[in-house]
Symmetry: C2
Subunit: 220 residues, 2 copies
């Protein structure tokens, strides 16, 4: 079982307001407080001490769960990628057939970024990068899981011959996935930065995703 979940023992902090020495579920409380801070301030420049304050513990308690601030950010990122994955899966289920699923995923992806820009930035954020070695393994894993939703729908599109690739090789499928991901990722970023002009996210994301579709759809 996941060490984070603690089903029986409800956190000691809830019932009695006389805060006990041990919190009971501090790790989760810290991640939640940090996410709230990121969402409120739209920035991950928050201090570890502020997170501790919100969780009602001393400024040093977080160090028992996260060796550095970076590790708390990484935990946030993992949760963020997981939320993204869930949203993409849900979006794909509302549509039928690879083409519509791809559009639905694209729109949902952009919406995910637009509804909490700071969290979206965080999961791709440079503060996670561990000294030239890329993101921590846990984060990379969560990112791959989210990417897998996209990989899936494209694989199905290619397999059912709705999407055109010059040859059905791994490299060709990878190219299409990378193109699609780059497009929605870039669009999300530009929207967040206010560089995508005055158009509204839902409209522009559908239009742009459809133009991706036009590029890869098999022509009669």
């Amino acid at each position: 079982m996941n060490p984070h979940t603690r089903p029986e023992t409800t956190a000691r902090r809830n019932a009695s307001q006389s805060s006990p020495y041990h919190h009971g579920d501090l790790r989760r409380a810290l991640v939640e407080a940090a996410l709230a801070l990121v969402t409120e301030e739209q920035d991950w420049g928050f201090s570890l001490r502020e997170v501790a304050r919100r969780a009602g513990v001393s400024h040093n308690a977080p160090y028992r769960h996260f060796p550095e601030k970076r590790d708390l950010l990484a935990a946030l990122a993992v949760a963020g990628y997981e939320a993204l994955r869930v949203k993409l899966v849900a979006a794909a289920e509302t549509a039928e057939g690879p083409e519509d699923e791809l559009v639905a995923i694209g729109v949902a992806y952009v919406q995910f970024g637009a509804e909490n820009p700071a969290r979206y930035r965080l999961i791709f954020g440079p503060d996670l990068l561990t000294g030239g070695l890329g993101m921590p393994a846990s984060v990379a894993e969560a990112a791959q899981a989210a990417k897998a939703v996209l990989v899936d729908v494209i694989a199905r599109g290619v397999q059912t011959e709705r999407f055109a690739v010059s040859q059905d090789t791994q490299a060709e499928r990878d190219r299409v996935v990378l193109t699609a991901w780059a497009l929605v990722h870039g669009l999300t970023m530009l929207l967040i930065d206010g560089l995508a002009g005055p158009a509204l996210p839902p409209a522009v994301s559908e239009t742009v995703t459809r133009s991706l579709l036009d590029g890869i759809r098999k022509r009669p």
Copy 2:
């Protein structure tokens, strides 16, 4: 003339090593030192004090030129966008005709990001955002100037009927520009984050940019 350039009076710091009370060209020196720090550490978490140290002035001197650290970052971003614009223009000049120019711009764009990831991130960075109002005017302006290179080549492609748009309206041209920008921007970010797989930047950027071209090229 640009107020930053000071042609006659060479900076007082260069000739005599007994540092004079006034630096002479501190603003430029600070921006250069900051860019060096960003490049070296691949992170813009540097301290203003470190920048001041490198420029050989007291920790408070920068405040005469930048009210806050954010303003120094903004100056860096302006310089970054300008460097990007120059690189894109140069790339466009190596090619002939809208199609090849577009590919050349795309490849150069991705290369710009890959050769200094931290600088690239910085210019789109959240630390610039001035309280929900987007980036400072100077940065937005520099960003538009860089974008203009892309706008130009696409406008020429549409005008000479090499690129296909359903109707030649402003909105349609904007859509194509946004799609193109989103694609190269997203690809650059994914590459920087190590999320684009094992393929090398030059190869993948050419492939992906060409697939963009396939999407918008007029078909016989």
